[in-house]
Symmetry: C2
């Protein structure tokens, strides 16, 4: 009654593949990289796998299924007869890695979901509009780090959607008023203009989380504005040229103000 489980049982590469559910090609590969070689060969060169090999293959498969690389698997299988500490370190690291992957996937899912909602919401909006949304996402990601974006999103969530809409409306008013001054070439040290600009900045700051990083985030936002005025203007109801002039005007006002303060 010692059929399939006899101690001296040998497997050909095809039989081993069948028994463990890996492909023959994968076994060749494991042999090539020295992860798992047949302990014996027939005189003609055919691989004969022993039960020891079978067990090793099972371990390889199990560790692979945890998302480890073949190199990592080889590493722990070399040391691990008595080295479970290495194993634990590896698994701990792997767990951390999996968690960051899960987080990433979660974020992407959230974003894809949002884009799909935009596509369905307006029932096929303007393709250009959608493309510009994509571009702005990219611009945003280029200028802000992951954590900055996280904090900004958090802040928006805190404020709530209606507060965000209200801010947009107030901001639109500010744009109109300031464009008026730009056209009128109001001097940059005009107190009324200064007041408008400080309200503009306050409005922006409301979306930045307070704290030390606030400064960096604000600076970054301003730089993004200056570098990409044409891009951003495309999504706004005012012509790019006017917005560019406005941004330059803002900058002049701010510089004058700080110069005055310093003196």
């Amino acid at each position: 009654m010692s059929g399939k489980n006899a101690i001296g049982r040998r497997w050909s590469i095809g039989e081993l593949a069948q028994a463990t559910g890996v492909t023959v090609r994968a076994l060749y590969h494991y042999d090539e990289i020295g992860l798992l070689s047949a302990s014996e060969r027939t005189v003609s060169g055919h691989r004969r796998y022993t039960e020891h090999d079978l067990r090793r293959l099972y371990r390889v498969r199990a560790l692979r299924a945890l998302g480890l690389s073949l190199e990592e698997v080889a590493g722990v299988l070399v040391n691990s007869p008595d080295d479970l500490a290495t194993m634990r370190e590896l698994l701990t690291a792997q767990l951390r890695d999996l968690e960051s992957q899960a987080e990433r996937i979660h974020r992407i899912k959230h974003r894809v979901h949002g884009l799909l909602r935009q596509l369905d919401d307006a029932s096929m909006p303007d393709p250009d509009q959608f493309m510009m949304t994509l571009e702005m996402i990219s611009v945003f990601e280029t200028y802000f780090t992951q954590e900055q974006r996280d904090r900004l999103a958090e802040r928006r969530a805190e404020l709530g959607p209606e507060a965000v809409e209200a801010a947009k409306a107030r901001w639109a008013d500010l744009v109109e008023e300031l464009l008026h001054h730009v056209r009128a070439e109001t001097p940059v040290d005009d107190p009324q203009v200064r007041d408008l600009v400080s309200r503009w900045d306050a409005l922006g700051s409301a979306f930045h989380p307070g704290g030390q990083q606030d400064e960096r985030t604000t600076t970054t936002a301003r730089r993004m504005w200056q570098d990409n005025t044409t891009e951003i203007s495309r999504r706004l109801p005012w012509p790019a040229g006017q917005m560019a002039a406005l941004v330059a005007y803002l900058e002049r006002v701010r510089n004058t103000a700080s110069t005055n303060r310093e003196e």
Copy 2:
């Protein structure tokens, strides 16, 4: 005041890389595969990217950040001037893909967590013991499909841990009793033996979800037992030879029983 945002602005490959946060090498690559080529070249052959190219690159980056392949990105950027339907299909498919990835990650996390608990629990258990756990995971995955494993896990959760322990204890008793009969060479049609075997099978069935697949799962489990008696025995307190004999004995009892019924 038309500095960085002038319409006719051109970017060298290095400038474009800097502006968008991609590497120069990646831009060469995008050019090679025809995803994004500079619209112009200088007489000496240096790439000059236009604003159109810049915008395209932003789109590429945004879509890449959603986890799409360069080929998929190229696909939607070719059609999509007026084809948001394709875009929506792609994003929908991507969402599904992300969900299955998240599920997979979740499962692996769960398993790694379990293994780490085993490592910490017994504070460095027998390395061999741990390796055998790995092997059994692999054997299990080889024989059962994902959904079968899911259902088995679900069933175990339903029963609760103490019920599982109780079943193990009862099962150990059955093993002892049956081994006794094996040694005594009790005939396979002995009513007492039959009773033991039917209790054995009932115990196993309790862990299989009811329904049509029950049969398949049970058959698979039995096949796994027969193919891997030595492997499995390593984790049990009885010698492999005895377990092999027991399994063979079980099989004979079952065959006899069914033969009798058929006649």
